[in-house]
Amino acid sequence: MIISITVGVLVAGGIYLMLQRSMVRTAFGVSLLSHAANLAILTSGVPAWREDPILNVTTPDQAADPLPQAFVLTAIVITMASTILMLALSVIGHNDDLLRAPESGESHRP
């Protein structure tokens, strides 16, 4: 299945970006990962049937599975929310490429 390669590429890119220090890159990585997840969930509805699940246009036999679509639709909006949150986090310092950990006020070792 070709889409599975697409999913693999997106996951690889997403993980690579998330492993970088920069918050903006991490946010981009999350975005890529969610694209991958969305495609994976959509294909769980089996992409052999690809007609729109709108009943006055398509017969139910040909229609794509609407349940994964509903899941993915929810996921997309949540992704938007989490991306916005991460972007907001990346501008509260001077720069998102922090090499130095901020002081948390607690020591790590006793």
Binding site: I5, G8, V24, L55, L67, A88
Partner: protein, 982 residues
């Protein structure tokens, strides 16, 4: 039975009020309640004794077949009476013992004490495994609280107690879970008579071991005996109750309760007999070495319980009977002796035998009582203790296995009896006779003295008419005995003829008296050695070790590097997928025809290119462009998969996200920093591995089945029920509206979180960043032409740039608005709906924002939070309306003329408002140009403040989390210095 439990439970509820009203005298009232409860229990007890088994049941968790059921049998009756009667005596004692003026001490004592009793009665009367477990844990908890309330010194002991008894609780939990799973029922009486105990020796052995371990922790058997001496940090009444009738007896009860199933399991017999006898010797040895009378008493409990455990381990009817009798006897003399020690403590201010005066002269009555109690514990005739000790000795001879097993056990118990005699004698001699200190003896109140004497003195007539106990003991033995075995015939009497037990007792008393006579020479030897191998040290060492382990584990995650956190997850996922693929790759059905289309290949190529660019680009802008490419290709792919709603949403989300990214990028350097040398290869390796795994998983596990039943339902009768054509939208707002509702809440929370995050931004002038901040990167130097040129003006005075955009906005806003409404309306039957419509509406916000020549807020400052609140409230209310039809968020359908309407349309309005609110917050807060320094005007801090407080003349002088005071009255506006008045 039920009324007893209810009465004590009511006492529990009203006890705090009683303490407030009557202080420490609450003990009298509660004692009366306990006696009344015992009286109420009499009909049940009589029924049990005449051979019936009263039961009561009420459904608790009907889905699991779990009932709150009570079932009184012989064991339950004995232990219930013990808990209530000893409880009543102890409460009477407490009424004089607790400090008279300090109400808080009483408040922390009585309610917990009553709760303790409720838990204990629940434990012994329940007929349900789960209730048994809960009650078991409640007794642990209550003893922890009672020990812990005794001040700072009791903190560590109470923690140790909790640790050990809860460990036992885990054993019991494991046993309960396994028994439930195996027998399929939680009814205790059914579990105990289940066939599995005869057919599966391995399972039976494992369960016997778990139950025995649980009981051993509670009954303070070696090596779990440590907590009991610790527990004497508690007040004397607590110790008396705990040692005599409650926690430690719960362990004994558990052993007896499960004896019907396990009495013939070899590991049960061997473990209990060996550990029991060893504990009785060891505990007795430690007891002799103690100087503190209360501590001595604690170790004596350890020792005595060892004897009972050993007898239960023998498992014959006679042995069980002996164990029951000794349990009763022990409850009587031990509660009395403990309270006597409390009296001594009150009279002299110490419990140390080395500092006590010659008390026999000062308190002759207490001396007599103590001697009687001690005689019972030592097994001297004609005390009740003599009868029970005879019984225990006889029980040992019935130990399973070859005949000499029994005689070895008999011999060991005889030695243990000598030890018992010795430490018991020490209580009397050390407490009353040997002292030569001239310490003053204070008068002790009559209440204390009488209540401490009560259980011991009551034991006397029972010994002389021991036959009275025959019926209850026989009933209890029947309950503890293997089902189907012949009726036990325990007959209690002082004289059974010349038996080995009688000879042993004579020998014990003889040796005991010799030791007593030579005590000044012998005791120091034992006392010198007791310091070594303290159990408390062992527990503390374990505790430290656990802490060290915790820090070790913590160190693995204690890092700010994303690799440390994410690599585990990514590689773990890879491993799981790898194992799954290796296991199932040859068992999978073939792929469906047509899962791959030529168009997919095109998308793959485009996507791969864009992913490579986004990963490698060092320019933030370049990466953003590549990211939006991925978004657009992804959207097209989604359209090609036949998901128009999803595609529309994705398209709009991508557009809005890119605008938000651009708003953020204006505050950040133009390029990403260079990654560390080591970071790139390892990140690449992890990424490729995970990517491969994800691809393989998608290929193996997707696209190999026919449409599911759920999908067919939604496309068929489901859509007809909901009365719409666009099935995806129907699922979102009708079938799975709760998901959507959760999502709505997430959007709202995100907006609130963004406000909170942004309000931590420092004010640039009032709180300037330190000069030597390594994370500081200066604003980018854009090579502009000088002032007066067109290029300079284009950047610094942006209104000229914005004119065209503004013209466009004027024209397009009403059109986009109408489009949004239309999409909203048609959602049920065609691509559209609340989300899509709201995102289109948000585009208006984005366009208006982009078209302004300088940064300013869109709409009133508090509008976004109000929109979100309204959205969530609307969704909640309409969800509540769904209850008319039976469930939260169930849609109602109705017609206005020919137009079909549903309440899910109103739900959609809620979604619309929440999405719009989030986007407004995002543009308003992330759009402020705090660091671009090109314009004056509202800056980030002030904008964030205004989102909560409404219009302000400047930022405020507190930031959230810095000071305990909230925004509002009394805080000053930074720029004006005036106080803020909302």
């Amino acid at each position: 039975m039920l009324w007893t439990l209810l009465l004590v439970a009511v006492a529990l509820v009203v006890s705090p009020a009683l303490v407030v009203a009557t202080g420490r005298r609450t003990g009298w009232l509660l004692a009366v309640v306990f006696l009344a409860a015992a009286a109420l229990f009499t009909p049940t007890a009589l029924a049990v004794w005449s051979g019936n088994i009263p039961t009561w049941s009420m459904p608790w968790i009907p889905e699991l077949g779990v009932d709150l059921s009570l079932r009184a049998d012989g064991l339950g009756v004995v232990f219930t009476y013990m808990a209530l009667l000893i409880g009543a005596v102890v409460l009477t004692y407490s009424a004089s013992y607790l400090p008279p003026s300090n109400r808080r001490r009483s408040m922390s004592f009585y309610p917990i004490m009553v709760a303790f009793t409720v838990a204990m009665i629940g434990l012994v009367l329940t007929d349900n495994l789960l209730v048994l477990f809960v009650a078991w844990e409640l007794t642990s908890l209550a003893s922890f609280l009672l020990i812990g309330r005794s001040g700072a010194g009791a903190e560590a002991p109470s923690m140790r107690t909790l640790l050990l008894t809860f460990t036992g609780g885990l054993f019991l939990l494991a046993a309960v879970g396994a028994m439930w799973a195996r027998t399929g029922t939680t009814v205790l009486s059914e579990v105990l008579t289940h066939g599995v105990w005869d057919t599966d020796p391995l399972f039976t052995g494992a369960m016997a071991l778990l139950v025995a371990l649980a009981a051993m922790t509670k009954s303070a058997q070696f090596p779990f005996h440590v907590w009991l001496p610790d527990a004497m940090a508690a007040a004397t009444p607590v110790s008396a109750y705990l040692h005599a009738a409650a926690v430690v007896k719960a362990g004994i009860f558990l052993l007896m309760r499960f004896s019907p199933a396990f009495a013939d399991v070899p590991i049960w017999n061997a473990l209990l007999i060996c550990i029991g006898l060893f504990t009785s010797l060891f505990g007795g040895y430690l007891a002799i070495g103690q100087d503190d009378l209360k501590r001595l008493m604690a170790y004596s409990t350890v020792s005595q319980l060892g004897l009972i455990v050993a007898a239960v381990g023998v498992g014959t009817a006679f042995a069980l009977g002996a164990a029951v009798v000794h349990t009763i006897t022990h409850a009587l003399f031990k509660s009395g002796l403990f309270m006597v020690v409390g009296v001594i403590d009150r009279a002299t201010g110490t419990r140390d035998v080395r500092r006590l005066p010659h008390l026999a002269r000062a308190m002759p009555a207490m001396f007599v009582v103590t001697v009687l109690g001690a005689a019972s514990m030592a097994g001297v005739p004609p005390m009740l203790g003599f009868i029970s000790k005879e019984g225990l000795l006889g029980a040992m001879r019935q130990a399973p296995g070859p005949i000499f097993n029994g005689w070895i056990a008999f011999a060991v118990m005889t030695i243990s009896a000598v030890v018992t005699f010795t430490y018991t004698a020490k209580i009397v001699t050390g407490g009353y006779i040997d002292g030569d200190s001239d310490r003053e003896v204070m008068p002790v109140s009559l209440g204390l003295r009488i209540s401490s004497a009560l259980p011991i003195v009551l034991g006397l007539p029972l010994a002389l008419a021991a036959g009275l106990l025959d019926i209850p003991v026989n009933a209890a033995t029947t309950a503890a005995n293997t089902p189907g075995s012949p009726e036990p015939h325990v007959h209690l009497a002082l004289w059974h003829g010349i038996t080995p037990e009688l000879i042993a007792t004579a020998v014990v008393i003889g040796i005991g008296i010799v030791i007593l006579a030579r005590r000044t020479a012998l005791h120091p030897h034992i006392e010198r050695r007791r310091a070594a191998g303290d159990g408390t040290t062992a527990i503390n060492r374990l505790y430290t070790l656990a802490g060290a382990m915790g820090r070790l584990v913590n160190r693995m995650a204690n890092s700010d590097s994303p690799t440390r956190h994410l690599a585990f997850i990514a590689l773990g996922l890879t491993a799981v997928i790898g194992l799954g693929a290796a296991h199932s790759h040859d068992k999978l059905p073939p792929l469906q025809d047509g899962v791959s289309q030529p168009l997919d290949a095109l998308f793959l190529v485009l996507m791969t290119g864009a992913v490579i660019v986004v990963c490698t680009s060092n320019s933030r802008l370049g990466a953003t462009v590549a990211l939006s490419t991925i978004g657009i290709v992804g959207t097209t792919q989604i359209f090609s998969l036949g998901a128009p709603d999803v595609g529309l949403t994705q398209l709009l989300v991508e557009s809005l996200t890119v605008i938000v990214i651009m708003l953020v990028l204006q505050k950040l350097p133009l390029t990403f920093g260079k990654p560390g040398k080591n970071r790139r290869p390892s990140a690449l390796a992890i990424a490729l591995l995970t990517g491969t795994a994800a691809g393989v998983a998608t290929h193996l596990f997707n696209g190999r089945r026919f449409p599911s039943g759920t999908s067919r339902y939604y496309l068929g009768s489901g859509a007809q029920e909901a009365g719409g054509e666009n099935v995806t939208n129907l699922i979102l707002v009708e079938f799975r509206a709760l998901d959507t509702f959760g999502e709505l809440a997430v959007l709202g929370m995100t907006a609130v979180s963004v406000i909170a995050i942004i309000s931590t931004v420092r004010h640039r002038h009032l709180d300037p960043p330190p000069k030597k901040d390594r994370s500081y990167v200066p604003a980018p130097k854009i090579p502009l032409q000088g002032p007066g040129t067109l290029a300079y003006r284009a950047v610094t005075q942006a209104w000229g740039n914005a004119v065209h955009m503004q013209m466009l906005v004027n024209l397009s806003t009403p059109m986009i608005g109408l489009l949004s409404l239309w999409l909203f309306w048609r959602g049920h039957n065609a691509p559209g709906g609340g989300f899509v419509a709201a995102l289109v509406g948000s585009c208006i916000v984005a366009m208006v924002y982009l078209a302004t020549s300088r940064d300013r807020q869109i709409g009133p400052p508090k509008l976004p939070l109000r929109l979100i609140t309204a959205g969530i409230v609307i969704a909640l209310v309409i969800g509540g309306v769904g209850f008319i039809k039976g469930s939260f968020l169930a849609p109602l359908h109705f017609y206005i003329g020919e137009v079909h309407l549903t309440t899910s349309l109103i739900f959609d309005v809620g979604i619309y408002l929440a999405v719009l609110g989030l986007m407004l917050v995002t543009f308003n807060l992330l759009g402020t140009s705090a660091s671009t320094a090109l314009q004056r005007g509202e800056q980030t801090r002030e904008r964030a403040d205004e989102a909560v407080e409404g219009e302000l003349p400047g930022p405020m002088d507190t930031s959230r989390g810095e000071r305990p005071i909230r925004y509002g009255r009394g805080t000053r506006i930074l720029s004006t210095g005036r106080e803020y008045r909302p």
